[in-house]
């Protein structure tokens, strides 16, 4: 797409502490210039995605509702690359992790967890699981990345394997992506450690715990990380980004975004500089067929709906879905008829009605027993509910209430 006139880069595009701006208003930056540095362990640096002038550093509201500093850069249209950009020197595990850390790469599948932290684990890991399941409706950016950037993925796998020493590398892909499967099988043919696991196209196949279970048979228990069962899980696009960084030294400043939904004129995958306003991305895709009523970061099952078209594309925005009025229309919420659809559709065996009951009556032990903490908010319960009850919202509330409750219990 054409160079955006302006980019807005929030200092939080990851799970963790905000990065600290290191530029001032008026500074000139190039593509790949560090503009905010990592703060603490769980954090990630931010780099300029266009060349130009820093126009504004001000608090913006991000999707979580928090106010964080965001850096606005006015583009000079030149896309001049920072002269200091050079491929990283990687000759040890420490250097590999440092490179991933410096690259600003976070989980590109949507979660945005700083990737280098996963490789820092001191637990024995023997398996690298690459998440190419891409189970959300509409989204195809991972699958396209696997087809077009297979070489980058190969480089990332080989480098990671060299320094981490995996026994097995499993690439999990849903079977409705034959092109991606074929490309990844080429990698597997050249490396005996790599195996492509063709998975049924069932949402939420790409949920971390679901994927690990279906590819390795291991259950990640409540409170555990994949490393606790010997696994590191990385999204396929994340791996491609690591490969690209190892090759060029250009940090994460652009990404592939699926643009789709009933309100979009020309749905497609677009490579977008991070920080571009979503409105500009839609404009590039031919604009709207009708006024969009809802715009979602990510897919329709777990994505976050945004308030307006000025919000930027973030590092972990894998899709932009714009719904028209018809698609937004939700059926009315009616009484629970105890049909059990939510209970029987939950991939984790959680009992949403019991969570609702416990939350309403203040019985937090009931909420815990019903499995609220295990909920990954995939939305299968709510999707299947004939009474259209706001189950995910309720589960989120229950988890928050539970956090308060546990704090109180710990202090008591």
């Amino acid at each position: 797409m054409p160079v955006p006139r302006m980019v807005t880069l929030p200092t939080v595009m990851h799970i963790g502490k905000p990065a600290i701006p290191v530029v001032k208003v008026g500074d000139h930056v190039d593509v790949g210039t560090l503009i905010a540095e990592q703060d603490g362990l769980i954090s990630s640096p931010v780099y300029a995605s266009v060349s130009g002038t820093v126009k504004k550093i001000a608090d913006e509201i991000i999707s979580s509702g928090a106010r964080v500093p965001a850096i606005t850069i006015e583009s000079d249209d030149a896309m001049t690359v920072d002269a200091a950009i050079a491929p990283p020197v990687v000759n040890s595990k420490e250097e590999f992790i440092a490179a991933v850390k410096k690259s600003g790469i976070v989980g590109l599948g949507g979660a945005g967890f700083p990737t280098y932290v996963k490789f820092m684990t001191d637990k024995p890991v023997d398996t690298l699981v690459i998440n190419g399941a891409e189970c959300e409706p509409y989204i195809t950016s991972d699958s396209l990345t696997m087809v077009e950037k297979a070489e980058d993925i190969r480089l990332a796998i080989e480098t990671a394997d060299k320094y981490m020493g995996f026994d097995k590398i499993i690439i999990g892909i849903e079977k409705n992506k034959p092109e991606a499967i074929a490309k990844m099988k080429e990698l597997a043919a050249a490396n005996s450690k790599i195996r492509v696991a063709v998975l049924p196209s069932i949402y939420p196949q790409g949920g971390e715990k679901v994927l690990v279970y279906h590819t390795t048979g291991k259950q990640i228990r409540l409170g555990q990380l994949p490393a606790d069962v010997g696994c590191i899980v990385c999204n396929s696009s994340t791996m491609a980004a690591i490969g690209a960084y190892l090759k060029t030294g250009m940090p994460l400043v652009e990404r592939t975004v699926t643009v789709d939904g009933g309100a979009v004129k020309e749905p497609q995958n677009v490579v977008v500089p991070v920080g571009t306003a979503v409105g500009a991305v839609f404009e590039f895709c031919g604009g709207f067929t009708a006024d969009p009523e809802k715009v979602i970061y990510g897919g329709p099952m777990m994505g976050v709906s945004v308030p307006d078209l000025d919000v930027p594309v973030l590092k972990h925005t894998n899709a932009l879905v714009a719904f028209n009025a018809k698609e937004v229309k939700a059926p009315k919420t009616t009484a629970c008829i105890r049909c059990g659809a939510c209970v029987n559709h939950c991939p984790f065996g959680i009992n949403p009605p019991a969570i609702a009951k416990g939350l309403k009556s203040g019985d937090m032990e009931m909420v815990i027993k019903a499995g609220a903490e295990t909920c990954m908010e995939c939305g299968c319960c709510e999707y299947s509910c004939p009474a259209n009850r706001p189950i995910v919202q309720n589960n989120k509330l229950a988890k928050m209430a539970l956090r308060d409750y546990k704090e109180k219990e710990a202090n008591a």
Partner: protein
């Protein structure tokens, strides 16, 4: 950008299933049995059905109006209750009795407890039991036109005397009983429709009818024909397919459903062979409705990655 977009918690799409759609499926599934009832028992059956359905909808609408609740008749559940109850009544029942029974089902069993989803027991079953006790007309045997009624008894009482009945007659519904319960064929067609539409699962009907069959076989000392006659008689099919599978009053998990079905099958057979009433299906379902919350809490699914709590 001036225009504000819709913002809501995910998921942003929903499945096509709706409560109203489910109720419509149940109504459609009950149509074969309703038609069979009218064909077998004549127009009087149609009047009973009409009375019950109209009374059910009117009662719920009026109740909501009086207590100023949001109108819920649009969800079609009142029609389901009215229709189900009608199919459980003899074709010659005085219409005022049918109306009183329906009023009991809708007002006392359903609305007072908070309406759809909040009733503790199945409204139609409970009303049937209430009417069994209140009205003598409920126990009188009614026969389809052209059926030899010389024995003057329903198949269940014939069977209880140790006599035999024609299995094919039972299967088609050419025997005495409530207007919608006699034709196992029509009920099976409805049941298969509900299974195909995934409105119900196989667990309750199969475990209910299956356990009743096996126990009957045991009591009849291995006489399969007699055991088949037992399960094809009375209200077992309509009860197992349409009433025991009521979402609100049955367990949500597969395991719970199996326990519920087996429990109901056992109670049915116990009442039939050892109780004072000839038929035990209603009592069986009612009793299992009452213990349903306990079954449900004992049969929760195992949470992923956790130990069974």
């Amino acid at each position: 950008m001036d225009k504000m977009l819709h913002v809501s918690v995910s998921p942003h799409i929903h499945g096509k299933k709706s409560t109203t759609g489910i109720m419509l499926d149940v109504i459609l599934a009950l149509l074969p049995a309703s038609v069979a009832g009218v064909l077998l028992f004549g127009l009087s059956a149609l009047w009973v059905i009409a009375t019950c359905v109209v009374t059910a909808v009117a009662c719920e609408a009026l109740f909501n109006l009086i207590v100023k609740k949001e109108q819920t008749v649009g969800d079609l559940s009142a029609i389901v209750t009215g229709l189900l109850l009608a199919l459980n009544l003899p074709a010659n029942i005085p219409l005022w009795q049918a109306a009183v029974g329906t009023l009991f089902a809708i007002i006392v069993v359903k609305c007072i407890f908070g309406g759809l989803g909040h009733n503790v027991v199945n409204p139609a079953i409970t009303a049937r039991v209430f009417m069994l006790i209140a009205f003598g007309s409920m126990t009188a045997a009614v026969f389809p036109a052209g059926v030899d009624a010389t024995a003057g008894a329903t198949p269940l009482s014939v069977l209880a005397k140790g006599e035999t009945v024609q299995l094919m007659d039972l299967f088609l519904g050419k025997c005495g009983g409530a207007l919608g319960e006699t034709s196992a064929l029509a009920l099976l067609i409805g049941g298969i429709y509900l299974l195909a539409r995934r409105v119900i699962s196989w667990h309750i009907p199969v475990s209910f009818i299956g356990s009743a069959f096996l126990l009957s076989l045991l009591v009849e000392k291995g006489d399969a024909t007699a055991a088949l006659a037992w399960i094809l008689s009375g209200g077992l099919f309509i009860g197992a397919i349409f009433m025991a599978t009521d979402y609100v009053t049955s367990p949500t998990t597969a395991k719970g459903k199996l326990i519920f079905g087996i429990g109901a099958g056992v109670i049915t057979v116990l009442v039939r062979f050892f109780g004072t009433y000839p038929e035990g299906v209603s009592f069986a379902i009612l009793l299992m409705n009452i213990v349903n919350p306990y079954i449900d809490s004992l049969c929760t699914r195992k949470v992923f990655g956790g130990s069974k709590k």
